[in-house]
Amino acid sequence: MHKKFKVYLSESFDPKFNLSIEEWLMDCSEPDEVILFLWQNENTIVIGRNQNPYKECDVKKLKEDDVCLIRRLSGGGAVYHDLGNLNFTFISSDNNYDVENNLKVIIDAIDKFGIKSCFNGRNDLLANERKFSGNAFISDKGKSCHHGTLLMDVDLDKLSRYLTVSPLKLQSKGIESVLSRVVNLKEICPQMTIESLKTALITSFNEFYNTETKIIILNENGIDVAKYVEKYNSWEWNYSESPDFSIVLENKFDWGIFEINLELSDGKITNCKIFTDSIELEDFKILEKSLINVQFKRSEILSIIEKYIKNGKIKQGLSNFISDKIHM
């Protein structure tokens, strides 16, 4: 089949926009197109399709530092993006899809900086035996997508700070992230920049396919992907699309010990058990019942507490406690 090659560059650093573009390309590209899409996100944690944000990262810290959290289409583990990171995406129809070709494009591009790299056979690209690129794959409706990160000059302190396992007592059925020893490419080749890396990738893509592709620049003004952005902006997609999980929140108040066990499915509380040595048992019985079917969102839970807990001191204590633990 004749192939059409396209290179897209995003000018936006907004993860919602960029992931929207990616999904739009999967949905709307032509069957004969072979696409390379390069993009960057500012200060973002991207979790795998089947992960739980509460488990993979410290949501409280993300909120405090204004880090965006977003769920992607492909599986695998959580990653941190900032402007020292460049993302690549290859999209084509299944019969034009060859991970090996894609990797060759990347490895050759990196080679232009004198860096020898290799694929470890699973999901990572390594240089000097350390990971500089995590890859993930998804296929849907006859199209396949292979995307990955390229750590050029990422703030590794932040990376490890945000990707620390949740301080919450939580059990999730989804996919767990795997810690890796990582390296920034700039550390190996100090003169590398994001721009030169982009250029090298595009050159490598053109060389591999023996083509001279025109580059298409994308930004929020030029294209309408609002339908997709809405999804990537939603609490439902980012938080409630997690596999089922359970969580235990506990605290010692001056009115007694309080422990609440929640089971969650599709972002809603499906089961709730409260243990307490407080004498105000009546309130807690009602709270247990009233929380069923409520969304696991701070505002929703607070309004239930407000409505059903009569004792002012307990109400105040619980409200502060929930606000401290649940951040969405």
């Binding site: 056979g121 794959f137 998804i138």
Partner: protein
């Protein structure tokens, strides 16, 4: 209509995956194209979408479950709603371009070859606390599991089912036309093999045995290298176990090395049933395939050089198999030497055979050669390892501890060319690993069982009449025909017999052969009698459950002294 939801594919070549988000639950209505759940595997994520319009009746998985290809995960009540778009198979991708990662290992024990010798030795060595690494060029499980014992038995099971249905009328059951699909029979066989291979992979993991897929090369007497697409490994070992097996021997006659001559491995992957097939070699492998293809409708000829098929067996044993084969329409040529294989213009094969100094021609669509197996002596540089060959130069020389001429190197299995059987290899593997673990153990070949899956089956252990005669042992025999066994009659499988051999002087049981239904499963009773050194009288003083085919062993024991109850 009710449909099963089956896991049909994963990303890439993965064979298992983890259930991610489940989007539908039992009772939900479904449309064709709806995502029911997503599956993550090593090579990526896919959505499991509905091909049905209806109601999801039941879903037996939960998020986080590991699922395998072919697994049924739920049921739908509704109708099939095939999308018109044909989903094309994705091209296989490998990682050939990625530069191999350099790795170096230092291990206590390196095992080269992952067949029934190698993997068993690896496990036993690991059980002794050794750090073990195993290298396999092809697939774990070796010839036995991938191209020998197991796949042929999977085929035999399909054939058994087919044969049972064909004679269903004799059981009072009427069925319509019986049809089979070779493709489905082969697929089932492949599934059986894949399940067992992944079982061995699991065992390697469970014992923390490092597994490298690739060809081992000898660097020096204590170092191996393995290079494949993803790694370039150097392995320093304290002890080495060579278990590189054997391959099909080629018959040294004109036309036998031609590409269209089939080996047993080829016979396991034919996509069409040949109209006719000539098998050169009427040993175990040749006869098993003769019965398999005969059942599938092929006109089969067997050419055996020795005076009888299954030449190691006693004449009365071969007689049962010969009669059964001829009744089924298999042509048997014994004492017949194949001298040339030629191709006619239309590709038909002509085998010239020499029977009683007379040339004859057999014409068939395909020709297969099953004349034994040759040790893979060229698989490793034995000179560099300081490992010597045996006197006949057809195998690696080993002592009873399986040690070679290099005290740090052991060899086990077909490469030693002692007796080429999977269970010998496994036992040799245990002996070698025990010695490495500091436990003295020696291999003894006195009591080797063998199992042949012809129709009917044959099983043998210890000495047969030929052996006893050759060793000038004064022996007694006791024989009991399955015809006189109640269970065999009830099953309608009355061919064959149980034959036991005892030493007249010591009255101990020294050998036994069973031909007939359940023969291979009954054999270990005889092995145990011999291994326990039992006399005829002691062995007969055991109660056998009724009604079982194993009662025939009891009767054969009694018949040694002419005291059998059910046969006169």
């Amino acid at each position: 209509m009710k449909y099963d939801l089956i896991i049909e594919k994963f990303s890439g070549h993965d064979t298992s995956g983890k259930i991610g988000k489940i989007n539908k639950k039992a009772g939900d209505s479904l449309n064709s194209g709806d995502t029911i759940f997503s599956i993550e595997s090593g090579k990526g994520t896919i959505k499991y979408t509905s091909q049905y319009k209806g109601v999801l009746e039941q879903l037996s998985i939960t998020e986080g479950d590991i699922v395998k290809k072919g697994q049924v995960v739920g049921t739908v009540e509704g109708e099939l709603f095939k999308e018109t778009e044909v989903v094309k198979a994705k091209p296989a991708y490998s990682f050939g371009l990625a530069k191999p990662v350099q790795k170096s290992y230092e291990v206590d024990v390196a095992v080269v070859g992952g067949g029934p010798g190698g993997y068993v030795a690896a496990i036993r060595a690991a059980q002794g606390g050794k750090k073990v690494l195993i290298i396999e060029e092809n697939r774990l499980g070796g010839t036995c599991l991938n191209y020998g014992c197991i796949p042929t038995k999977a085929l035999v099971s399909s054939i058994d089912a087919l044969e049972k249905i064909r004679r269903s009328e004799s059981f009072g059951i009427e069925v319509g036309d019986v049809k089979f699909s070779l493709e489905k029979i082969m697929n089932r066989k492949n599934e059986v093999v894949n399940t067992l291979v992944s079982g061995i992979e699991h065992l390697m993991n469970a014992h923390e045995i490092e597994y490298l897929n690739g060809k081992a090369e000898v660097k020096d007497s204590e170092t191996l290298t393995v290079k494949n697409k993803s790694i370039d490994a150097t392995i320093k070992f304290q002890k080495l176990i060579i278990a590189t097996g054997s391959k099909t021997a080629i018959l040294p006659i004109e036309g036998a090395s031609s590409e269209d001559i089939l080996t047993s491995q080829d016979l396991l992957k034919l996509t069409e049933v040949p109209s006719s097939l000539t098998i050169i070699g009427g040993g175990v492998i040749g006869m098993e395939f003769a019965f398999i293809y005969n059942s599938l409708g092929t006109k089969v000829n067997v050419v055996e050089f020795f005076p009888q098929i299954l030449n190691n067996m006693d004449a009365d044993v071969a007689e049962v198999i010969r009669t059964s084969a001829i009744e089924k329409g298999i042509n048997i040529f014994e004492s017949a030497k194949a001298s040339t294989i030629k191709s006619a213009l239309d590709g038909t094969k002509i085998v010239e055979i020499n029977e009683n100094n007379e040339s004859k021609y057999i014409i068939s669509e395909k020709v297969a050669v099953a004349v034994g197996r040759k040790a893979n002596l060229e698989s490793l540089d034995l000179t560099k390892l300081g490992v010597e060959l045996n006197e006949r130069r057809n195998g690696i020389m080993v002592n009873a501890s399986m040690r070679t001429s290099n005290p740090n190197v052991y060899a086990i299995g077909d490469i030693t060319n002692k007796i080429q059987l999977a269970h010998i290899a496994s036992h040799q593997g245990i002996v070698a690993a025990d010695n490495i673990n500091g436990i003295e153990n020696e291999m003894c070949y006195d009591l080797i069982p063998s199992a042949i899956f012809t129709m009917p089956e044959v099983a043998h252990v210890g000495l047969n009449e030929k052996d006893a005669g050759a060793q000038n042992i004064d022996y007694l025999i006791g024989k009991f025909p399955l015809m006189a066994n109640g269970k065999a009659q009830a099953m309608g499988e009355t061919e064959g017999f149980v034959k036991l051999i005892a030493n007249r002087e010591t009255r101990k049981i020294i050998g036994g052969t069973i031909v007939g239904v359940h023969a291979t499963d009954m054999l270990s009773t005889i092995s145990n009698i011999i291994a326990s050194d039992l006399t005829i009288d002691k062995a007969a003083h055991v109660i056998y459950a009724h009604p079982t085919t194993a009662e025939s062993i009891h009767e054969a024991l009694l018949n040694i002294d002419g005291r059998g109850i059910h046969f006169a």
